[in-house]
């Protein structure tokens, strides 16, 4: 540990100033824009925004999809993480590698695949028409389901990674011990696994929920203007209507939602025993 403070600051401050001036200050000004009017400070940007039915629909849809994606990712994530932890060391490394692999691939590529799967002439529609379930192809793209699937596929690896590293820390004998003492699998999960992995769940949940809220590509490609989410709405307001007040409001909503999700999950995690 060196005590020369001036030297230390000289090394650390360029990075801090870079982030501050080129990042935080512009973002701060953008966020403040909705509070300003010709006559002074105002909240009318916010009241106007929430007065419009479309904006309400988009707000609640974004919230709902975020919760659904994070929740589903948690359920599948627990099952997958449990299986991964139970594998031998070699297989565990390989499967874990396959889970991480999609994170290295461009989200555009990963989302694009769903067009091939869900499009009018896609795999699912071919199967539906081929099996005679429907005469004509069904609209699967530009639905909430499509956006949900795309987001789930995009962010589930983050949940699995968080849960695997949390589960690796569970002492090996604890689960068999609970079983021997008569706990059902449900009880084992609720009273042993869940409390011991709650930190992983908080990290994974925050990452997936925030990721789903702030994803642009997936709602843009798979939802289009039929299934707007807050990000795509923001883009539309700016590009179509030059409406920077709405953009500023949406920006604030996104940031507040991300932060409160993290706080809420932390609260829940620390409330239990």
């Amino acid at each position: 540990m060196f005590l020369n403070t001036r030297e230390g600051l000289a090394l650390a401050l360029p990075a801090a100033f870079f982030s501050l001036l080129l990042f935080l200050v512009p973002v701060g000004i953008l966020l403040s824009e909705a509070f300003q009017s010709d006559t002074g400070w105002t909240l009318s940007g916010y009241t106007d925004f929430f007065a419009k039915p479309l904006n309400q629909v988009v707000f609640f849809r974004t919230l709902k999809l975020g919760v659904l994606v994070a929740g589903t990712a948690a359920v599948i994530g627990y099952a997958a993480a449990f299986c991964i932890v139970n594998l031998g060391p070699t297989a565990r490394g390989r499967v874990f590698g396959l889970v991480v692999l999609p994170l290295m691939i461009s989200p555009v590529a990963r989302t694009y695949a769903w067009i091939v799967i869900l499009g009018r002439t896609g795999i699912v529609n071919d199967a539906i028409v081929g099996l005679g379930l429907s005469e004509t192809p069904i609209r699967l793209l530009f639905t909430e389901t499509a956006v949900f699937l795309g987001l789930l596929q995009l962010f589930m690896p983050l949940m699995i990674i968080s849960l695997v590293s949390a589960m690796e820390n569970i002492p090996r004998d604890v689960i068999p011990a609970a079983r021997v003492l008569g706990a059902s699998w449900l009880q084992v999960f609720v009273r042993v696994i869940l409390p011991l992995t709650k930190e992983g769940l908080v990290i994974g949940g925050t990452l997936v929920f925030t990721g789903a809220l702030t994803a642009y590509i997936t709602p843009a490609i798979l939802g289009g203007s039929k299934v707007l989410m807050l990000e795509t709405l923001l883009y539309q307001r700016v590009n179509v209507a030059n409406d920077f007040v709405s953009a500023s409001v949406i920006a604030m909503i996104l940031m507040v939602m991300s932060f409160s999700a993290n706080l809420l999950l932390k609260r829940i995690a620390s409330a239990r025993r």
Binding site: T5, L9, L22, I29, A79, V95, M104, S106, A251, S258
Partner: protein, 258 residues
């Protein structure tokens, strides 16, 4: 029985995660005119076509430039910062940490819009310049964090010994610290490169005539036509990212650092 159920769950999960990527590879290798799976016959013509699209070439170069130089700049700023945060007792070091980490927390689309409104328009920055800064700031948190964790594992008394034996502080850093953290630096570079190259929301508003990053250009191309060339391009980009990561893993055990 337990084993079977285990593999069934993993198989389904991995199919969901990896399957779409496999579909992309084959959809791009179609001999037909439109995007379909299974493809109408196999050919590499769409893979070849990608190289003839002028805008893809330009945007690929821009994305490469941003990813390489943005990440290098982030490292030049981030290594000293990580070093100072690890080795010095600084007033307000928590604040510095928070400020440097902030770009991860702020949604990218907001950053792009903010830079467009308050740097490009009033201060006459070029779009390329703003993109460069946004990508640098975006990678900075990763650079500081990854380099910090490898500095954390390096004992400080090694450089103290170097100084006692007559090195200047700078020499001690260059000769003792840097060689010992080079794995972490390379890992930070790769992580930064992949993050920057695949980044979309930040670049969404920051594009001008002829200035588009590759992912934005792909989105624009998809709006015009659904031909399989975007699938082919996506597959090639994915292979590029994977090749880089695998090479890094082989060379220095990349995953230890991330």
């Amino acid at each position: 029985m337990r084993n079977l159920a285990n593999w069934l769950i993993l198989g389904l999960t991995l199919t969901f995660l990896i399957g779409p990527f496999l579909i992309i590879i084959f959809a791009g290798a179609s001999a037909g005119q439109s995007l379909a799976f299974p493809p109408d016959g196999l050919s590499l013509k769409w893979y070849a076509k990608v190289f003839t699209v002028e805008s893809f070439r330009a945007s690929f170069m821009l994305s490469m430039f941003l990813a390489v130089f943005g990440t290098l700049t982030a490292l030049i700023l981030g290594i000293p910062a990580a070093y100072a945060l690890n080795r010095y007792k600084l007033p307000g070091d928590e604040t510095i940490r928070t400020i440097v980490a902030a770009p991860i927390i702020v949604p990218g689309i907001i950053v792009g819009l903010a830079l467009l409104r308050y740097l490009v328009v009033p201060l006459d920055f070029t779009v390329t310049m703003a993109l460069f800064m946004a990508h640098t700031a975006l990678v900075l948190p990763y650079a500081v964090r990854v380099v910090s964790s490898s500095l954390h594992n390096l004992r400080a008394d090694m450089e103290e010994a170097a100084v006692l034996l007559g090195c200047s502080r700078l020499q001690a850093f260059m000769k003792v610290v840097l060689p010992n953290i080079r794995g972490g630096v390379l890992a930070a570079f790769i992580l930064g490169f992949v993050t920057s190259f695949n980044q979309v929301p930040v670049s969404l508003f920051l594009s001008g005539p002829g200035v588009r990053t590759l992912p934005i250009d792909m989105l624009a191309y998809m709006e015009i036509t659904y031909d399989p060339s975007v699938a082919a391009l996506s597959a090639m980009l994915a292979f590029m990212s994977l090749a880089i990561v695998f090479a890094a893993e082989r060379l220095l055990g990349f995953s230890r650092y991330v």
